[in-house]
């Protein structure tokens, strides 16, 4: 009962649809920042993280939580109703405050690349921090994305993930009320 103190979206249908629309745009235009509506998120999750979870995760999707997310576990279980898995390789969605090795998540198969997991990663900040140069489908020209809180070997891990295409992991970065998406088709270098 510890963390089950907060409601989900005030308007479950409208809230999820608005956030889903934002996710579609964010996936289509990698690296663009989008804002979520008001939501009282359970600590340690930010409003953007909680909104994306409520929007994407439900009883039909397996979910893996990393250790620092544990205080919000009850809230996630109650509002998303997703079956939690202990092994990240078996999860359709992964929620993390500290990035797990991308290789530890399911990248799907060549026959069903859509089975690749989506990682929802809450970072310290999205408008400050290290600049990353991103390019690929959805970006007319390379863009800079500033992220604070990614591991040092992120670019190398991402290069390995990108090389798996069409298999791979899709990444949703969240911080505060902002989020952006990095689909597996994107190339990332240090800016």
């Amino acid at each position: 009962m510890a963390s089950l103190e907060l409601p989900g979206f005030a308007d479950p249908v409208g809230g999820a649809q608005a956030c889903f629309r934002g996710l579609l745009d964010a996936m289509a235009r990698p690296g663009t920042l989008h804002e979520v509506g008001e939501l009282a998120a359970p600590p340690p999750l930010d409003p953007a993280t909680a909104s994306v979870l409520l929007t994407l995760v439900d009883a039909d999707t397996t979910l893996w939580l990393d250790e620092p997310c544990a205080p919000a576990r009850e809230w996630v279980l109650f509002h998303c109703g997703a079956p939690l898995v202990a092994d990240p390789a078996g999860a359709a969605f992964a929620l993390a405050l500290a990035m797990p090795k991308l290789a530890a998540l399911s990248a799907g198969s060549d026959a069903a690349p859509e089975d690749g997991a989506s990682l929802i990663l809450q970072v310290a900040a999205l408008r400050s921090g290290l600049p990353y140069r991103i390019s690929g489908p959805g970006l007319k020209e390379p863009a800079l994305l500033q992220v604070q809180g990614l591991p040092e070997d992120f670019a190398a891990q991402w290069a390995a993930n990108h090389a798996l295409f069409p298999r791979g992991i899709d990444l949703v970065l969240t911080a505060g009320r902002l989020f952006c998406c990095l689909p597996r088709s994107v190339q990332i270098g240090m800016g």
Partner: protein, 164 residues
């Protein structure tokens, strides 16, 4: 309605419960079978449950009711049933849940608020005596009357083995 699906009646005079949830299960069942108007009428005479916020709902949805042919037959989908549900957290931090048949959102929220309040041992006995006991008695009476009516129309079929 099949009798087998209506479990959870008040056990008669038995207050020793090995299952710690048995008592809660019973009041949740009684509250779910009552109507919002019945609960509200009884609430007027007693202390109101503490204020709450809504965690989820109240909302209306469908649940699939599963049936089973005979005692050992395979399960099958009997049909969908409209259900209103609500989950609340009251000021004391207790979380109450309710699932009630039908579309009465007020009923679901009242039942959830009472479920939360009755988890507080200081209130439980008073609320149970003021609300659950009279509701359970009324439900038992209604059921007995219904069963009496049905029993009066019972026909015993039997085969006369010697009729050729």
């Amino acid at each position: 309605m099949p009798r087998g699906s209506c479990r959870g009646d008040m056990p008669k005079g038995d207050m020793t419960e090995p299952d710690p949830n048995a008592r809660r299960r019973r009041w949740m069942a009684v509250l779910a079978r009552a109507s919002a108007a019945e609960i509200e009428a009884l609430l007027e005479a007693t202390e109101l449950p503490p204020p709450h916020i809504r965690l989820r709902g109240p909302e209306i949805g469908l649940v699939m009711v599963r049936g089973r042919a005979g005692g050992g037959g395979a399960g099958f989908n009997l049909g969908e049933m409209t259900v209103a549900r609500c989950s609340v957290r009251n000021e004391e931090g207790r979380v109450g849940h309710a699932y009630v048949a039908g579309r009465d959102l007020r009923h679901a929220e009242l039942a959830a608020a009472l479920d939360a309040a009755m988890q507080d041992e200081a209130r439980r006995d008073a609320l149970e005596a003021a609300i659950v006991v009279p509701l359970a008695a009324a439900q038992a009476r209604a059921r007995a009357a219904n069963e009496g009516k049905a029993a009066a129309t019972r026909v015993q079929f039997f085969t006369m083995a010697n009729m050729r």
